[in-house]
């Protein structure tokens, strides 16, 4: 397993935000982490990254817990935050170099990998520019380049399509599929279900801090009785629909 989460309970303070969440991600899977605003998606992601300490339960990345070996635990993960977080004092080239040094890439590996990524996201003429001067979408592309250059076993992407233009979204989807084909895994939280439906292998649906469903689209359809339903229909049935009935 690339990622194993067992009975995770946690949050920002003593009061837990997420309760007893368990799921796994195998190599070569793209998983959609889906939930309403405030459902607990970002909290789950922060726990996986090690930014929050679980109240109970445990998380393993490539069979390592954060307490057993923090560097080895993090080395297998690449993270793309919802809002770009950049060093205002660094150029795009320097951002790439910092990431590469952190993950132990050699200068030759950086040179070989960065060209296609910069070209794909149309930033190949911006290497010496400060990304802090870019538009939000371009900043997000910098985050994507920095994560994808590392080629980790697990990508964690928080709302990947926010701020990206249609070409950027298409480039990202192609890249995600190509990474899956190389047996790498992706966990992404998203609200854009129509896009997620096209390429996610499995969905984990979180509501009010609890996992309420986990499976392929067909499995979720079976669970909700919506045999022809789209992911949107299934999602509404599992979250909003249930609440309306109450």
């Amino acid at each position: 397993m690339v990622l194993e989460i067992n009975e995770l309970t946690g949050g920002y303070s003593k009061d837990p935000v997420i309760h007893d969440i368990s799921f796994n991600i195998k190599a070569g899977e793209i998983i959609g982490l889906i939930g309403l605003n405030g459902a607990g998606k970002s909290t789950t992601i922060k726990h996986i990254l090690g930014l929050l300490r679980p109240h109970s339960g445990n998380i393993k990345v490539m069979d390592k817990t954060i307490d057993s070996d923090v560097e080895a635990y993090r080395r297998h993960m690449g993270y793309i935050p919802e809002s770009p977080i950049l060093y205002e004092e660094l150029t795009l080239r320097e951002h790439i170099n910092m990431t590469a040094m952190a993950y132990g890439l050699t200068p030759q590996e950086v040179e070989a990998r960065k060209g296609p990524l910069l070209k794909r996201f149309r930033l190949d003429d911006k290497e010496d520019t400060f990304p802090s001067h870019f538009s939000k979408g371009m900043k997000q592309k910098v985050m994507l380049i920095c994560a994808f250059i590392v080629e980790p076993e697990l990508y964690i992407i928080d709302e990947p399509f926010l701020g990206l233009d249609p070409l950027g979204i298409e480039s990202l989807i192609e890249l995600m599929i190509s990474e899956r084909d190389k047996n790498r895994s992706i966990l992404m939280s998203t609200h854009i279900l129509a896009t997620a439906e096209r390429y996610c292998d499995r969905y984990i649906i979180i509501d009010q801090g609890r996992k309420i469903a986990d499976g392929t689209l067909d499995e979720l359809r079976e669970q909700t009785g919506l045999s022809e339903g789209t992911l949107d229909d299934v999602y509404i049935q599992l979250t909003g629909g249930k609440r309306h009935e109450q």
Binding site: G50, V70, L90, E94, M101, A102, G104, T106
Partner: protein
């Protein structure tokens, strides 16, 4: 109701000021201030005995007072006020009146301190009436500068233009009253003209955008001043590409292209591209050199050199604090000890270079006692060690 809103904000502001005040006016700084004030007074009193009346002394006094008679205008408005307060604009008079009183009280300390030095210098060749008129006009100019600044917020005039015009007005008015006490009328005339121009240029209604922006800048300016002495979390860090300095930036070769050196790579860039830090360092060096050269006293030079190095080392530690709390160091597979190791390597090199500059300044001022300067690098090293350790300790406590 609006005065209640201001009072709440004023209490918050006072709390912030007293919080940072504790760090700025620590025991080291108070000792330095007392020694510096004593030496300055001693020097000025000595000059009073030896100097004879001259236009240069008058110019210096007028210039000094012109530069300090510039009270800040602090409305304590917040960004959200642009949305929520405009409907209550007509009921905001009490708020702004309280803001006026608070702002005026904030700006008194510096002109009061400068007045002491100016008083001593003016006593060379001026009678009591001239001195009294000079200070009476200074008080009027203080209120006028405040009024002009307050009015200018609601106009199209830039802050820079208004400040330059005020310094010029202050200087000319004060200079004229020293030339002939009757010229005080000219000063009063300038004040009236300036006020009329400002009032005529003011918008009919409040420009909330201007007010909020002005307050934001004033707050940042305050934090920047405080950041010269201690770390300030709320400061908006701005960076500036100085392409000319890029050649000085260290680029790691293949053997150092790794996590051990990555933060050193970052720290050099943070320092060189920081909007203020290199300029603050430069200002401290130039200002202290002028004082050392002007006073020419061995002990004063020693104290100023050691204190200048202390101030700069304090400034340097901001870079570590700014980086240590960002997201990426918590996500990247890099032990936090590498950040500290990189900071130690980077800061020792920079501090060593700066202590050498102070050593050169000291040697130029006191060539015969050059050997004292040999202690500066050691002083810089020890300060950097002690201050870095306290930052690491604070960081560990916060992360726990």
């Amino acid at each position: 109701m609006s005065s209640k809103l201001f009072n709440t904000r004023m209490e918050e502001d006072v709390k912030i000021r007293s919080y940072y005040g504790k760090f700025i006016f620590n025991s080291h700084f108070l000792v330095f201030l007392m020694i510096a004030a004593g030496v300055l007074l001693y020097t000025l009193l000595g000059l009073r005995e030896t100097l004879s009346p001259s236009l240069y002394i008058d110019t210096l006094c007028a210039l000094l007072m012109a530069a300090v008679l510039l009270p800040k205008y602090r409305t304590l408005l917040k960004e959200a006020d642009m949305l929520f307060l405009p409907p209550y604009e007509k009921k905001m008079a009490a708020y702004f009146k309280r803001a006026d009183i608070y702002s005026l009280s904030l700006g008194l300390a510096v002109p009061a301190a400068a007045s002491v030095a100016v008083l001593i210098l003016l006593s060379i060749g001026h009678d009591l009436t001239s001195i009294l008129l000079f200070f009476l006009l200074a008080v009027l100019l203080y209120f006028n500068a405040f009024n002009i600044r307050r009015l200018s917020v609601n106009t199209d005039y830039t802050k820079w233009a208004v400040t330059s015009a005020l310094i010029l007005l202050n200087f000319i008015s004060l200079m004229l009253v020293l030339v002939n006490p009757f010229f005080m009328i000219a000063g009063l005339f300038f004040i009236i003209i300036f006020t009329v121009i400002m009032k005529k240029s003011s918008f009919q209604t409040l420009s909330w955008l201007n007010y909020v922006q002005y307050e934001k800048e004033a707050l940042q300016q305050y934090y920047q001043t405080v950041s010269m002495f201690t770390n300030v979390k709320r400061i908006d860090k701005a960076f500036k590409r100085r392409r000319i300095l890029d050649v000085l930036l260290w680029v790691p070769k293949a053997d150092k292209f790794n996590k051990k050196y990555m933060y050193e790579y970052l720290f050099y860039r943070s320092f060189m591209r920081d909007h203020d830090l290199p300029m603050i360092v430069l200002r401290i060096i130039v200002l202290f050199f002028i004082i050392m050269f002007w006073i020419g006293n061995l002990y004063v030079s020693l104290i100023f050199s050691l204190f200048g190095i202390y101030l700069i080392v304090l400034q340097m530690s901001q870079i570590y604090t700014a980086q240590a709390y960002l997201l990426w160091p918590k996500v990247w597979p890099v032990s936090r000890t590498y950040i500290q190791d990189s900071y130690i390597r980077y800061s020792h090199k920079i501090v060593f270079a700066i202590t050498l500059i102070f050593a050169v300044m000291f040697t130029v001022t006191h060539p015969a006692q050059f050997f004292y300067a040999l202690a500066f690098p050691l002083w810089g090293y020890l300060l950097n060690r002690v201050l870095s350790k306290s930052i690491y300790k604070k960081e560990t406590e916060l992360s726990d």
